[in-house]
């Protein structure tokens, strides 16, 4: 667990996290600030920004995405992905989310001005826990780009009840479920929302 800040891996912390995850509203989630070793995550960010990003656009989204990180030749990024996909980290995620997961996938994303991801629940076969590693810097509320969670009523999203501004070195985890409606708000300025994201599968 050399990638993770030590305060997140001691037993009391793990117990607290696993207690908080299922209680979070509007659906099970955790926001782990300063989660990774600062020097290591900085290296990941630097290497990520050297990759090529393709514009992806459909009814639901507009953003720029790398190829699957597992297929990239960059050593730092592959090592980071392999850590996410390791038995040790999957066991850790399983414990703090009380959800059995066995593997992960990962891509890099940049949301530039006007980029967005509209409301959806992420449900697809095998996806158990969604994650976002945020390495964006210098965002304020006026820049947009927040990860926003919707309340639901009778299985339908109603309104945004939680929003998380992009922050460097933060890990977001949430349980994929019929309630997990979320969006990425439009980026409104020239700042870049930079993340690595994917799902843990079970």
């Amino acid at each position: 667990m050399k990638w993770v800040h030590p305060e997140y891996v001691d037993k009391p912390a793990v117990k607290t996290l696993s207690g908080n995850f299922p209680k979070a509203k509007p659906f099970s989630h955790l926001v782990l600030r300063e989660f990774f070793s600062p020097a290591r995550i900085k290296r990941v960010r630097d290497e990520l920004l050297k990759q090529s990003f393709a514009l992806k656009q459909a009814d639901l989204f507009r953003f720029h995405q790398t190829a699957d990180i597992s297929g990239l030749s960059n050593e730092t990024l592959r090592e980071f992905y392999q850590f996410f996909n390791s038995k040790e980290f999957c066991a850790y995620i399983s414990t703090i989310t009380k959800t059995k997961v066995t593997r992960a996938d990962m891509s890099g994303f940049i949301y530039s001005s006007t980029d967005h991801l509209l409301p959806h629940d992420d449900r697809l076969e095998g996806r158990r826990i969604a994650y976002v590693v945020n390495v964006s810097q210098g965002f304020t509320k006026k820049d947009g780009g927040s990860l926003s969670f919707f309340a639901t009523k009778n299985g339908k999203p109603t309104k945004i009840v939680q929003s998380f501004m992009p922050k460097d070195n933060a890990l977001f985890l949430f349980k994929v479920s019929p309630k997990s409606f979320h969006q990425v708000d439009e980026v409104l300025t020239s700042k870049k929302r930079i993340t690595l994201a994917g799902w843990f599968y079970g």
Partner: protein
Amino acid sequence: MARYFINPAYLLKHVLTDAGAQFAREGSIQLRQFLIPDVARRLSAALSRATSRAHVIPDQYRCHEPNTLPRLARELQRVLAKTHEIRSIVSTIVQKPVRFRDACVCVYAHGDYTLLHDKNREPPGYDIILDLTPRWDPRSCGYHSYVKDGDELVRVEPSFNTLTIVRRPASVRRFVKYVNHHAGKDKRIVIEARFA
């Protein structure tokens, strides 16, 4: 009645026959300067002034509808729905008899969109989009996109006083792309009608 609204050129048989030939080749057509210019200007101004309410189902759509339709817009809607001239224009272009299904005035502002959701499946037919957007920064998006298996077949960009007709078979679906912050306070205003 329709002659008070529609550019007289689009009531000429040979113009519509030519348009029909293009429609047969391409599956869509745009008739520019469709309304008499003064009518289009007055209609657009009246709709721009009208207050509107949002309709939101976050995972399906977010759009606006005028609270009350200006008199001119109500009359035009009646023309679309009831007069044989419009049916005749559409029928000549699509080269088969058509039946009016429904029409609405839709307003798309910053943050509005429609999504390809299973709950939003429309019956196949012919879509009519009359654009009355007075001013639009093309970077704002807000266009209609017709897609089949993920590929875009037709894109209808905002264009003042243009009537677009699109053939939409069951395999083709459409959405309105998210209107981004470049729109500012501008709104895309369209009258949408569907014919079967």
